[in-house]
Symmetry: C2
Subunit: 524 residues, 2 copies
């Protein structure tokens, strides 16, 4: 059912690994723990299931099936007999046995009747996909009020209305119209925009970023972002929380909850509607009216919430926080295959408030053995394009173990494979003296080296408990993460240095915050 | 020879099209026009050509051959007989007939002798790849002085030393060790970092960005960035110039030249070493000592140079400037498939100094016909996920033709194909009632629509001479540009809204600058 039940997580920011997936009781105490049934249901009904392949009632049903959900799935539509090979039911009442989760895609005006059926059936929770509520007009607002009252009266948990759905990877439940299926992981995402939310799920999938839950909270008629944050506080599969927010109704409670949750789990929020025009757009979008942005941003920071400035940062930062040890400070060592990238990374670090300390003499001497005499002999360590395979390994290790360095950014070592591939392709075409076998061997050696190097970075992170952020420059073609079976951390390889710098800058902020609290956090 | 010889360019920011590639005289008057022979040589020799597939002398030779260079190619190495199927020559003297370009990869100390041979042979230019000169130590500095004097005495144009090479797409010459081969285009790139430069050429290739010239200027012992800028001023194939700079020796002359060139061709520069640490890193990298960054940055702006803040921006901005009409002002209309992306794009625009004007009533009425009553009725136009294929077309057209809007950002229309593909894949697997034929037809319709929509954007840009910047959100899988045979402009589709906003913000700055000059530029 909930494969991460017995996942303790403490000290283990790495993603929830499949071997931890044995069943068991969720050991927690949370006033929203009844939402477990909604997010990890044994059975799902789709009201408004359709055979029209562009309809929501089709797309969600098809996604649930294609995503490999193993519980019972009931399409509800009185006018259809079969959809995707499943028999259709006329109504929820006709479903035999208990029912955990109901997804509703029928028009807004049908919602009250369907919800009544849900209460009769004593379902565990509802995701109301349909739009046409408070985001439209007065009638919609009244209708939303009506259904919210109904849910409250019957203690029926409701996500939405006007949502794109939910994803619960550890229950193999992909219940969105968009067919993005990111892998299982430890990042939970609460999004007040469905459109933006599912797009980020596509990016997460493409980048190999592991997700625990995605919740499009929609109009938040009933369950709101703060409730969901409280739920995630005790969700054992979730280690990092990202939020896209356009408006918080009870700011005080949100900040209170955020302050508590952020001590244990990093919260990264993107506040949409930071500007006059953005605020107006947000008002017409989710009907929310945000207050003063600066005040809210400042309050968020005081509550330990890290602020992203654009959607892609939500993913970059959450990947960093969920994969790497938290930096003990802001002193960065840089190892670069070439000078220019070292320079721009230096600039980016300094502009983000990070320090680039000078290299101690004994480190220079160690690295000296592997590089020609004209290497930089300074931080950043410019490897001057060396072909010495040992040089980057030694450089990173010497930096990360130094007590004058808190974190390392390593540029261009992982990712060379793709560049080498182009060179080998040319050789294959143009050089009759080199056999295909020789080329394959050379490529194999480069691939092997990259794996060994990444493994080495993971071992160093475990040994010294400091982050090493990779920058691949070229896309690795294998996502941005590198995982090792049973490892405590994952390797992270961003395509550009700015993302790596941003992760370390935000980590340093979080470290400062935790230090101010006087806490030594068990983990990130 | 130089396929873009008769490319007039005026009013045509679109990339140099192959049909313009008839030969002819370069009609220009420039004190660096003799560099044409270096950048568009009829014959090339590689001194230090090697059969060792990891050596520079091999990688460059192999790249020239694999890149489809059609001139004569001479490997020079007294110890080898054949490399890549080509006969080796003992020295430059042994080459029969004239020789235009010599690439030198042999150790630094051999350079004076090789250069003497070059002068005897009266070659058109030299690219000195080898390192070991002023970037290393006093001996290297003396050696560099020696060869620079020699070149000056014999008026031998020299790029480098310590460079990764050059790319001249319109002459099919890819003379770098990295085998990135971006397509022919109108963007020239002068990079003081070879490593950073060739990486950006890889990115340009991946994104389908068209390049005219790439010049790794290396230590700039002889020809420097300012000289190259002057050359590019009259290069008919170059419409936009990007530069990565770590230090300018004669700042006054650079600014003078930049001020003149930027009136006709946008110049976008990334200054590496903006911070204390970055400056130190740059000093150890290219041996250059930059002055005060703020002063230099301000002077650049006054000379009409646009400043990028990170390497990827060099490509984003140059793609925008080389593909789109220059915006007449800073008032942006936004069309978004969903609300959240509209909100974050609004925020990004406002934070970049762009305006989001309200929608005139008549535009609201026009769009009303295609959208459900609860659409935003405001700027941004939130298409509320409509399936009405006409809606985005109408919305973009109404905005771009309004005299209250200077530019349009269009989010999520192009790029849906990839998301639809995932949905169709699920249907193919899970739905026995839908045939493969039906799925292929549906995907065909979506693909067709995207092409028609992109074509429509191009027509609108021609008709109204205002930029429409696309944001695909999902990668299109076909690069970031969309071209139409014979079209004046190209479609640009960035993966994220920030890039689109940045292009418009920098365009607005350039427009302001040109307006202050009192000029009406012939083009961007």
């Amino acid at each position: 059912m909930t494969p991460c039940d017995n996942y303790t997580g403490i000290g283990a920011p790495n993603d929830c690994a499949p071997e931890r997936a044995a069943s068991g009781q969720r050991s927690r105490n949370n006033r929203f723990s009844h939402l477990d049934t909604l997010f990890h249901p044994r059975s799902v009904a789709v009201v408004g299931a359709s055979s029209g392949i562009r309809k929501w009632g089709y797309l969600i049903l098809c996604n649930i099936l294609a995503g490999g959900y193993t519980g019972a799935v009931y399409p509800i539509n009185p006018k259809e007999r079969n959809i995707c090979g499943l028999p259709c039911f006329r109504s929820l009442r006709d479903i035999p046995g208990p029912l955990d989760l109901v997804l509703i895609t029928t028009p807004a005006h049908t919602a009250p009747d369907v919800l009544k059926e849900c209460t009769e059936k004593k379902v565990g929770g509802v995701v109301l996909i349909s739009s046409g509520f408070s985001e439209t007009d007065d009638r919609g607002r009244r209708l939303e009020g009506e259904i919210v009252d109904l849910c409250q009266e019957h203690e029926l948990p409701l996500i939405g209305p006007n949502t794109m759905g939910i994803i619960s990877t550890h229950s193999d439940l992909y219940a969105t119209g968009a067919h993005a299926r990111p892998r299982k992981g430890s990042i939970a995402f609460v999004s007040q925009s469905g459109n933006l939310g599912v797009q980020l799920m596509h990016w997460a999938m493409d980048q190999g970023i592991g997700i625990s839950l995605f919740i499009g909270s929609g109009n938040e008629g009933s369950l709101n972002s703060t409730d969901l944050l409280e739920y995630l506080e005790s969700d054992p599969a979730t280690r990092t929380i990202i939020m896209y927010l356009e408006g918080i109704r009870d700011g005080r409670r949100f900040l209170q909850v955020a302050r508590r949750v952020s001590r244990e789990k990093p919260i990264i929020a993107l506040n949409g509607g930071r500007t006059d025009s953005g605020k107006m757009a947000a008002a017409s979008h989710t009907g929310s009216m945000a207050g003063s942005t600066r005040v809210f941003d400042a309050a968020c920071r005081q509550a330990g919430v890290l602020l992203a400035r654009k959607p892609s940062e939500l993913l970059d930062l959450s990947m960093g926080f969920s994969s790497l040890p938290l930096t003990p400070g802001n002193r960065v060592g840089i190892v670069s295959l070439g000078g220019g990238w070292g320079v721009v990374t230096c600039d980016a670090c300094r502009e983000a408030g990070l320090e680039i300390p000078p290299l101690p003499e004994h480190i220079i001497n160690k690295i000296d053995r592997h590089l020609p005499p004209f290497w930089s002999r300074a931080n950043p360590v410019d490897l001057v394009g060396t072909l010495d395979m040992q040089a980057p390994i030694v450089a990173v290790e010497e930096l990360i173990k130094s007590d004058r360095i808190d974190a390392v950014i390593c540029l261009g070592i992982i990712g060379r494979k793709k560049l080498a591939q182009l060179q080998m392709d040319s050789t294959r075409r143009m050089n009759p003296d080199v056999t295909g076998r020789m080329i394959d061997d050379a490529m194999g050696a480069i691939s092997n080296y990259e794996v060994k190097f990444a493994e080495h970075l993971l071992r160093l992170m475990e040994a010294y408990n400091k982050p090493i952020v990779g920058v691949s420059l070229a896309p690795t073609g294998e996502g941005s993460q590198f995982q090792l079976e049973g490892g405590k951390y994952s390797g992270v390889f961003f395509p550009t240095p700015e993302s790596a710098v941003n992760v370390l800058a935000q980590m340093a902020l979080r470290r400062q915050y935790l230090n101010r609290l006087g806490d030594t956090p068990a983990h990130n």
